[in-house]
């Protein structure tokens, strides 16, 4: 059979004027695309990383990757789930989202008792807990990512914030931003690092102190805000807020339980004092044609 690209009426390098036709929120078969539509322009968002947990302080999860481009129409697709919140461990990495040849990685889980979990393809780095933070990862287009630091460094996918006394390191700014690091001192006034700002935002780190503890705020996304950290006197407070997602705002931290990341890839907030980290926001696929 011969193929002539000139007969493919969808041939164009621009998505200008295309209309949102489908929003896919679960993995499975691809249906509903009219016959004759051979290429679609896909927007893929990976799942956000879950917040970390330890007996003391932890790091927020990184935001899920964001990728766009033309692709053939596949038979099936994968939508990344949000990473699980850590329980005396790092948070789980967010799931990858794949539609044909457009791919977006999940965000890294925040560090807790164990180091921040790895991520891929534009996923942002997780903040540090008692174990290490992680860097963001190179994007679908090859854009560099940010490394860890206080604050995490800027990149397409921001780096995770490191832990620090008094105020944890903020997550790195990016398209997908990094999770904040924990506040590493256990007395006095302590504040977890805020999640980074971005199109999709990372979760806040936690504080664990006998004094006044405040969890780091979830990062502010372009479309939705992050959740606030819990605050109060003593170690029963100090969990971080979830980062703003592409579809919904992040949830507030509550007592020592991290806030959930906003739907659409927001990173989960970190737990403190053996609480449970916030789950990352789920990924999504948008199809334009």
């Amino acid at each position: 059979m011969s193929v002539n690209i000139y007969q493919n009426s969808s041939f164009s390098d621009t998505p200008f004027g295309l209309k949102l036709q489908q929003t896919i929120t679960s993995s499975g078969s691809v249906t509903g695309i009219p016959a004759g539509i051979q290429r679609v322009y896909a927007v893929c968002i990976g799942g956000g990383g879950g917040g970390g947990s330890s007996t003391t302080y932890a790091g927020g999860g990184g935001a899920g990757g964001f990728s766009t481009g033309w692709t053939f129409v596949p038979g099936t697709c994968t939508v990344g789930a949000g990473g699980t919140g850590g329980s005396l461990s790092a948070g789980g990495a967010g799931g990858d989202t794949v539609f044909g040849m457009v791919l977006a990685g999940g965000g890294a889980g925040g560090g807790g008792t164990t180091a921040s979990t790895a991520t891929r393809m534009g996923g942002a780095g997780g903040g540090a807990g008692t174990a290490a933070a992680s860097a963001g990862t190179t994007s679908y287009t090859g854009a560099p990512a940010g490394t860890t630091g206080n604050p995490g460094n800027v990149g397409y996918a921001g780096g995770g914030g490191t832990a620090a006394a008094t105020t944890g390191g903020a997550g790195g700014i990016g398209i997908s931003s990094g999770g904040g690091g924990g506040a590493s001192t256990v007395t006095g006034t302590q504040t977890g690092g805020a999640g980074g700002k971005g199109l999709i935002a990372g979760g806040g780190g936690s504080a664990n102190t006998t004094g006044t503890g405040t969890g780091g705020a979830g990062g502010t996304g372009d479309l939705f805000a992050g959740g606030t950290g819990s605050t109060g006197t003593g170690i029963l407070f100090g969990a971080g807020g979830g980062g703003g997602g592409y579809i919904a705002a992040g949830s507030n931290g509550s007592a020592n339980t991290g806030g959930a990341g906003g739907n659409g890839g927001g990173g989960g907030g970190a737990a403190n004092n053996s609480g449970t980290g916030g789950v990352g926001g789920a990924g999504v696929i948008y199809l334009y044609y």
Binding site: S9, F16, G17, T68, G142, G146, D222
Partner: protein, 294 residues
């Protein structure tokens, strides 16, 4: 049934607007980042954080330019440049002018992001397409994954920077009478090197900034020679809207000139608007800029 996505040229038969024969001139503009057929709707400067896109416009084409690196002795690198389609968004971040020494900052719209040029010393270097500076970081890989160029080597025989999307800065001379090397050309050019010690009777001359869409700053502020110490010229930039060169500034005594930005000429040691690198001796890096087309 009519094709539901037909929209002018791009919806027509490809062969009708970009023929395969080499005997005719295609009617498609050859600019590789300026979106032919679209209209520039918004020019956004530093300090503005919101943009109003009309209802019904889903996709827009954005060109982001980060701020140039600030100069000290070596010139600062040009600000990074990134371009592409992104979903319409009401918020934006545009990089401000960069002060002495410091590396430039980022400009972001939707998921398009460009980093700053490398500063001459001090803080973290250039990133996301920013040009390099010999006293700090190499040129940086850009949004599209196009590799950055390494800085030239320093020493008695310094070398020019390497080309790249973010080009490398020129090497620093350690010998009297041996000029600092030029920054390399690139999308975002590298800053010029200078003479670090250079004590003696021979004339010391610093390197020029490279040329690009954003030009690098000239090196300078060398004082080792007992006869003559001269800065380097800033590299030229390019106004992508008009095709006109934006000029880098000439050196002035020991001070290097700023590099031309994507939207304006350099002024003395200061880089031009739109990411021009700063020249030596406290030249500021030009602020970033954001163009939105639809």
């Amino acid at each position: 049934m009519a094709n539901p996505i037909r929209r002018g040229e791009s919806g027509s038969q490809v062969s009708s607007w970009h023929v395969s024969s080499n005997t005719v001139t295609p009617n498609q503009q050859t600019s590789f980042i300026l979106p032919h057929g679209l209209t520039l709707r918004h020019t956004v400067n530093a300090g503005t954080t919101s943009v109003t896109i009309p209802a019904g416009i889903t996709w827009v084409y954005a060109i982001c330019v980060g701020s140039g690196g600030g100069g000290a002795y070596a010139g600062g690198g040009g600000g990074g440049v990134a371009w592409g389609w992104t979903l319409a968004n009401s918020t934006c971040v545009v990089a401000s002018t960069t002060s002495n020494n410091q590396s430039g900052s980022y400009t972001r719209y939707g998921h398009i992001i460009a980093g700053g040029g490398s500063g001459s010393a001090g803080n973290a270097g250039g990133f996301l397409g920013g040009g390099g500076s010999a006293a700090q970081s190499n040129g940086a890989t850009n949004y599209w994954g196009m590799p950055g160029g390494a800085n030239g080597t320093n020493g008695a025989s310094p070398t020019i920077g390497r080309i790249g999307s973010g080009a490398g800065g020129g090497g620093i001379s350690s010998a009297n009478g041996i000029a600092g090397s030029n920054g390399a050309d690139g999308i975002s050019a590298g800053g010029g090197g200078y003479c670090q010690t250079g004590a003696g009777a021979l004339a010391n001359v610093s390197g020029n900034g490279g040329n690009g869409l954003t030009g690098g700053g000239g090196g300078g502020n060398t004082t080792g020679s007992t006869t003559s110490n001269l800065g380097g010229n800033g590299g030229n930039g390019l106004n992508i809207l008009t095709g006109a060169i934006t000029t880098g500034a000439s050196y002035s005594g020991i001070f290097g000139g700023g590099g031309g930005g994507i939207a304006g000429n350099a002024s003395g040691q200061n880089g031009g608007l739109g990411g021009g690198g700063g020249g030596s001796n406290a030249g500021t890096g030009g602020a970033g800029i954001l163009y939105i087309f639809y």
